[in-house]
Amino acid sequence: MKLTEMPTDRLLEGFQALLLRKGVVTGAALEQSDATMQAASPARGAAVVARAWTDAEFRARLLADGTAAVEEMGIFLTGAPPLGVVENDDAVHHLIVCTLCSCYPRALLGYPPHWYKSAAFRARAVRDPRGLLQQEWGTELPAGTRLRVVDSTADYRWMVLPRRPAATEGWDAGRLAALVRGTDLIGVTIPAA
């Protein structure tokens, strides 16, 4: 049987056994990596954003070093690429794409949506980003806002810190987190109250 014809679960089992036997990874490291991925979801990113909206010092630490800041919240990205966070404000809106492949902050947000990996999204995010936002997502940027497309090409994984929606004064972090969707965290949409 050719390698490409082998059932993927058998292939994975064999590959894992080889990595362990050759000492490339330890069983504990594999378990930790699996646990990180099982816990990853957009809800985790939303909790990070809500904390940043309600705690200015945390927000500053998050923008300076995303990995260290989320570790404070008990989210450990061990073995994952460093997390970078880019902040939207009234001057700049960020949109995240990986034109080369599908880089995405998986250890925090979980697996990327299927369209994020599509050639169509990846090409249009750089070739016609405003058309993509308006026509596919109904996302209108406020007049005067610059669009900064972050092409995630190398060793960081990027997440957007959206602007806190209007009319949410006095809301606690839990209520704010419920407003934030996975799509807000890569900038194809904008959260609203």
Binding site: D151, S152, A154
Partner: protein
């Protein structure tokens, strides 16, 4: 030591190693030969071009560089930017 600092004008090398043989490159083709401005250095990372082929991979400075979109595609809105991680060996002073 990093060669560039925040605010430096840089040009991405107009090089196409993928045309000469097997290569693993993290510099998008649409930026080759284009000028941008360093937003900030991002630290040093092992060169993916070597890592991909299991060769010894030195740590190389990585930069976040911003590029005006309309210099690459005139239809894109003036003022809009690309912000992309580029390894130092792909950059020259502009």
């Amino acid at each position: 030591m990093s060669r560039f600092d925040a605010g430096d004008r840089v040009r991405v090398r107009d090089a196409w190693p993928e045309a000469e043989g097997p290569a693993h490159i993290r510099t998008p083709h649409y930026l080759r030969g284009r000028e941008g401005i360093v937003l900030r250095p991002l630290g040093r990372f092992r060169n993916p071009e070597d890592l991909a082929f299991a060769r010894p991979a030195p740590h190389i400075p990585l930069y976040h560089v911003r590029f005006p979109q309309d210099a690459i595609w005139p239809e894109n809105q003036p003022g809009d930017e690309f912000l992309v991680e580029i390894f130092e060996h792909w950059l020259e002073a502009a």
